[in-house]
Amino acid sequence: MKKRFPTLRALAFGAAAFLTPLAALASGGEKEGKLVHVADTRHLSGFNLYIADLYNTNRLLFTLECIAITALMGLCLGLLMDWIVAAIGLDLSKHEGQE
């Protein structure tokens, strides 16, 4: 028995490694994605127009704004939620979990 398991395991991994890409290729694939994507700004206004314009004209600034807005929202919403949970009266200072 001891000898059989490593062989079976090796066979299973080998089959998975061989069959996975084959299955993906056999599925035919999807329509080729656009290499350069341009946002359509014709019907946009306000914040959406600003973001789409930034996306089309300055990719680095767009990326930095995405990161800054995400981080700021995470921090602000986190503080707000902390305040709400503390108001309920739960002790959030310790964690006595068991395995």
Partner: protein
């Protein structure tokens, strides 16, 4: 999916009901905070099912995950569940891995194979992870039952980390919060592997990092959850940067999802206070299998069935976590009142 409430997102041009994004944010916040992950493995297929092209689903996912993980990581850090030293040791190599994975995605996109290849790799990994978690859970239970003295064996039933800790390539480092001492190359290697798969699959790595921390590094479940969220947060920001530069982030969708994820993340994180570590692992295994089924259905072009599986599983698990949190919180509040 298209109705009067639908909005058209400015960059990808996808039409979607924002309520769906908020609900997805809530669910992913609850489950992410509870299991210690970004939850992108749920968001990527869900966004893809909602009509986002796969690279946009991946980029939007990573960006949203970074913001949401800030909320959960802050909470876990206050609980003392974050081993920042271990997280940083893994992160440097995690980032290199993410970049390699992201470049492979762009190459597959040029070939028109991004969707199917990502989905099949997903299926294989979800299956293996689910299998490992269930095996560990049931082995642990049988060990507990057979322990005549009634004291359960400590730690995981699967003990790969003990073998991996025998690798003594210097420098040997002590991680105090995780209570682990091992070669620095172990977390570095695990970080690279997790990062590569994360970049390829469009996930922050939490889905892979959580079991890797438990089974390969040897962390207790709670420290794995907290440390995982810490690395997911930083990796998510790097992922957001690289996908932003490649023009595959839909910022408005990120903002809408974060509105739902904020309360969800708080609920999920607090729920870990009231549910046992192995309970978390069992629910994690169930969720992983549901995710795998949905991805298979999607690959078989059964999109409606895939949506139902994702939505039903995520809703059911979210409700279980919320009920667990509410019950635990009510018990704690009652005990406090009784003490006054």
């Amino acid at each position: 999916m298209h109705d009067l409430l639908s909005i058209t997102l400015p960059i990808s041009g996808v039409s979607i009901n924002p309520l769906l994004l908020v609900l997805l944010g809530v669910a992913v916040g609850v489950l992410g905070g509870f299991f210690g992950m970004g939850g992108a493995w749920m968001v990527t297929p869900a966004l893809n099912i909602f009509g986002f092209p796969m690279p946009f689903a991946v980029g939007t996912d990573l960006c949203h995950m970074a913001g949401k993980s800030i909320i959960s990581t802050r909470r876990h850090a206050k609980f003392g569940n974050v081993d920042a030293k271990l997280g940083l040791a893994m992160l440097a190599f995690d980032v290199v891995g993410i970049e390699c994975g992201a470049r492979l995605v762009m190459y597959l996109e040029r070939l028109g194979l991004a969707g199917p290849v990502i989905r099949w790799v997903y299926v294989v990994f979800l299956f293996l992870i689910g299998l490992l978690v269930f095996y560990d859970y049931f082995k642990k239970r049988s060990l507990e039952k057979s322990a005549a003295a009634g004291s359960a064996p400590a730690g995981s039933a699967v003990r790969w980390h003990e073998t991996l800790h025998k690798i003594k390539i210097p420098p040997i480092v002590r991680f105090n919060v995780a209570q682990v001492e091992c070669s620095l190359w172990l977390p570095a290697g695990v970080g690279f592997l997790v990062g590569f798969l994360a970049g390829l699959l469009g996930i922050g790595g939490g889905l892979l990092m959580m079991p890797a921390l438990v089974y390969m590094i040897g962390c207790p479940t709670y420290v794995a959850v907290g440390t995982d969220l810490f690395t997911v947060m930083l990796a998510g920001f790097y992922g957001a940067f690289t996908y932003g530069m490649k023009g595959r982030i839909e910022l408005l969708a990120v903002i809408i999802m974060l509105l739902g994820a904020a309360p969800g993340a708080q609920v999920g994180t607090i729920a870990t206070k009231y549910i046992r570590g192995y309970g978390i692992r069992l629910m994690f295994g169930c969720t992983v299998f549901f995710a795998m089924i949905s991805v298979i259905l999607k690959q078989l072009k059964l999109n409606t069935a895939a949506s139902w599986v994702v939505m039903t599983a995520v809703t059911a698990m979210t409700l279980v976590v919320i009920v667990g949190m509410v019950k635990g919180a009510a018990k704690e509040l009652r005990a406090r009142r009784a003490l006054r």
